[in-house]
């Protein structure tokens, strides 16, 4: 089998983009960490012919749901997350893409992330999020249309 280090190097960046799109930038790193730790645990049993990226996105999807549920259980929910110091020390303007993604219904946001960021076919997205292949295709198209409407076509290119 391929050493797991290679899996992290090859797929780590895409999984992080997927996590950022699905749970937002603040929880994305926890989602990424939990995804790769769970993947490491089951990696020796992975079918050698499996599509590794789809396998990782499947795990990330489950971890994102866990994180979203945990966030919903937090005692005080606020309209907007408080400002935090930037981890890299650079000042940062609020990103309109995050805000627009956060406003999408779950299925649209997931379909956009899994198709346009991770490159999964709609059939696999349907298995992941439930519903038909056509419904997944519509969710992604509606999500993209809504993002374009919110942030404008130039910035909205995913």
């Amino acid at each position: 089998m391929t050493p797991f280090e290679r899996i992290v190097t090859e797929h780590g960046p895409v999984v992080l983009r997927v996590c950022r799109a699905v749970v937002g930038p603040d929880d994305a790193e926890d989602a990424w960490s939990e995804t790769f730790l769970a993947a490491l645990r089951s990696y020796p049993r992975l079918d050698p012919g499996a599509n590794v990226q789809a396998w990782l996105v499947t795990i990330a999807h489950r971890k994102a749901i866990d994180i979203t549920r945990a966030r919903a259980r937090r005692p005080v929910s606020v309209e907007h997350v408080p400002e935090r110091p930037a981890v890299d020390g650079l000042p940062r303007e609020p990103d309109p893409v995050w805000a627009a993604l956060r406003e999408l219904p779950d299925k649209q946001r997931q379909a956009v992330a899994y198709h346009h960021v991770a490159g999964l076919p709609y059939r696999e997205i349907a298995e992941l999020v439930g519903g038909s292949t056509e419904a997944a295709r519509r969710a992604a198209a509606d999500g993209i249309a809504r993002l374009r409407a919110t942030i404008g076509t130039e910035e909205g290119k995913l």
Partner: protein
């Protein structure tokens, strides 16, 4: 999403996440093979350790990617760059290459070597620092005086060169003989040890 299309995510985030993953994997007992590289006078050495101990040392000429792939097959595919587990051996290698250390004191995992090859490796640390033995002497010490060629094979396939000192085995005419790290590396190690003796 600030990175568009195929542009890579900022490296520092992924580096930090990789570090977190290695620590969590170690804590949960999922880090079957930890590795790192260290610079040395004989080139960049790959070091790999299981939970039992140091399992592999490889020279630059041995293609580190291929060595990691072999470890994934022979030990476990749960292989991660995780330097912490190799801190002690890295420090001891630095001391050794500075001439201040004559033997290594780290746990070894010799699972990659079995049978007669293993018997040869068990004998090698008994050759004193700065000294040498011939292939024939090592064959006799390992219990098979006629297995001179097999001693050569055991040294050539030593999974832990430098730390298990196969470089101290030389031809009976005094010439250095073969070495997995190349004859130049073998001469470098023997010269280092003759100075530090």
């Amino acid at each position: 999403m600030t990175d568009q299309g195929e542009a890579p995510v900022r490296d520092d985030a992924l580096e930090r996440l990789h570090g977190r993953l290695a620590i969590a994997a170690e804590r949960e007992g999922l880090l079957d093979v930890a590795y790192r590289t260290v610079d040395s006078p004989v080139g960049s050495l790959l070091l790999a350790a299981t939970e039992r101990g140091l399992v592999r040392v490889a020279f630059p000429g041995q293609d580190h990617e291929a060595v990691l792939a072999a470890l994934a097959d022979q030990v476990s595919p749960r292989v991660l760059a995780a330097p912490a587990r190799l801190d002690a051996v890295s420090a001891q290698l630095d001391e050794y290459f500075a001439g201040r250390r004559h033997e290594f004191d780290v746990p070894l995992d010799l699972r990659l070597s079995t049978g007669f090859r293993r018997a040869v490796l068990d004998h090698l640390p008994r050759i004193a620092y700065g000294g040498t033995e011939s292939y024939a002497q090592v064959a006799a010490a390992a219990g098979s005086p006629r297995a001179v060629r097999a001693v050569g094979t055991a040294c050539a396939t030593n999974p832990l060169p430098v730390v298990v000192p196969c470089h101290r085995v030389v031809r009976s005419d005094g010439s250095t003989g073969g070495y997995a790290g190349g004859p130049e590396a073998k001469r470098t190690l023997l010269t280092l040890e003759s100075r530090g003796r």
